[in-house]
Amino acid sequence: MSLQLDEAKIAEYPTHFLLDVYERMVLIRQFEERVKLLFLEGSMPGTIHQCQGQEACAVGVCAALQPDDLITSTHRPHGHALAKGLTPDEMMIELFGKAGGCCKGKGGSMHVGNIEKGMVPAIAIVGGGIPLAAGMGLAIKMQGLSQVVACFFGEGATNEGAFHEGVNLAAVWSLPVIFICENNLYGASTAIHKTTRMTRVSDRAQGYGIRGETVDGNDVLAVYEATRRAADECRHGQGPVLLELLTYRRTGHSRRDPNHYQPKDEQAYWHERDPITLLRNALQDELESELSLIEARVLARIETAVEVARAAPEPTPDDLLTDVYATPLHTP
């Protein structure tokens, strides 16, 4: 994989698109970095699974989707949510467990989502989103709609039974689902080659009779283009598709994991290929002032979200009984 993006390819894109994509990636990075500080400061409850280094996957995929297309996510959902259009405010409030969050403070970090923006609340169970995505694809097909579902999961999930069941049924019924494996080389602390001989995840597509493709997951435009192709196929009844995005996590599996298992030279290689740095390097000769402006704007945006979240009201005891049953139960 290259240490710089293809300049000829970049020249084909309108500037506003490139800046949008850049801003979205920086937004995710800064959101995650700020959340890390909040966690260290003791303001953020629970543990947190962060996605620094994987921003191009979330942003490249979601940029290729329509607003009414759907995504499913994982225990590492912040990037997916921000890429799909959730605001830093509704996310940050949710992470603080406050009432105004995207899931009213009941989901927290691992269950962020907003169905109106096309994101089902994230499912933290590894592989748990895969059968759900197949079911959503079936619903779309039976209703004759033209939406697609982009289903995010890590390479660790591909050894779960749910992966086999979900992908196989989606294949049998030609469902409009893009199975997106963010292969960051480690399932928690375990390297991929220790859990499977099939270290090229896209090769598994053959076993289901569908198309698979491996893409540089740190090249946001490569991810965008591969997702566009896959979405087109899905909308023409030729789905599902398995996309493998090769990427790298710059943090531990969770905040409590110091990722000592990542070899130093491997970390150095991937840090040089950081998705934000790659795009910035390609754009900065022409657009330095715009990029700086974006970075400053994002920082201010995140600070606002933190202030809003700190000041947001806590849920009340009455909220315990809402969103639990289809018809809320009231004790006499």
């Binding site: 260290l40 003791g42 409590r256 000592h260 920082l299 700190r310 806590e314």
Partner: protein
Amino acid sequence: MRIEIKMPDLATTDSEVTLLHWLVEPGQAVKLGQPLLEIETDKATMEVESIAAGVLAETHAQPGERVAVGQVVAVIENDLAESTPPADTESVTAQLDAETLPSPAPTPPSAPGSAPRVSLFLSNKARRLQRENTVALSPVQRDVARRVQEAKQSIPHYYLHTSACAEPMAALHNAAQHNLVWDAFFVMAAARALRSFEKMQFRYAGDALARNPDAIGIAVDVDDELFVMAIDNPLAQTPENISAQIIDRVSRIKQGDASAKRLAPTWLTISNLGGENIESFQAVINPPGAAILSVGKIMPTVVAKGSGQIAIEQRVQLGLAVDHRVVNGRYAARFLGQIVRELESL
């Protein structure tokens, strides 16, 4: 401004972590995100990054100290004019330094009825009193405490007592060129006895018995910490190499070698307090093993012989605590009898 640095919640199952080192000295400048201290949690060692830029003004905990999550460990003084720009300019992240980061907003008072998340906020006086009147268990001893409590509460123990003639053992011990560890003889006798009492190697697993690894554990107390070291494939061993393994393992534990402290499953554990002048005792089973052999002091004992004579010989008292779910009393009694015969024919 003064920014208090609290110990973040980085442990997996604990509410305390151990401070290993300060990575910054008081008086030195600190960048946002710079590693400030190294800690050991119940699961890993890791660095804790600074949540503020400025100068490290105070530290409130020493290396080696157990620190509660949420406790203030340092104060950083933040003077915007003096703060240094980050060296790492290629990373967008690093630009979050003191010059661009707005001062942290003051935490709004909690809404009525909302409980604070961490309930460990004590006054300094309360914290001092707590420190003076409690002694923290080491990580090893916390694990021992948890395991013995679980074993004693969940395993239906019963206890057998007998004694064996220790003359053959003592002869071998005296004749050996190198210093032999007494435990080695009991490992060998138990391993040989297992050949005719195979069920002793199993553990209770619901409505079935499951086979344990072919290894015998020896309980060793090193500086008030209890370890069980496994002797693998004991039938293939000699007293000499069992002794060498035990001596080597103890010296590695003393040197702090983490791999030497690792616990491995065994089918039997041997606990020997003979060296402490204990004549006999009963021990707590060490799971997943189904039994633990307790060994007392080898001592001259008056024995009545069949001919009506009395004699004095070296004898040792043995106890066997057994998991009743695995074997009944008669089986275990015969197994213990076989250990005695093996010891007497070494």
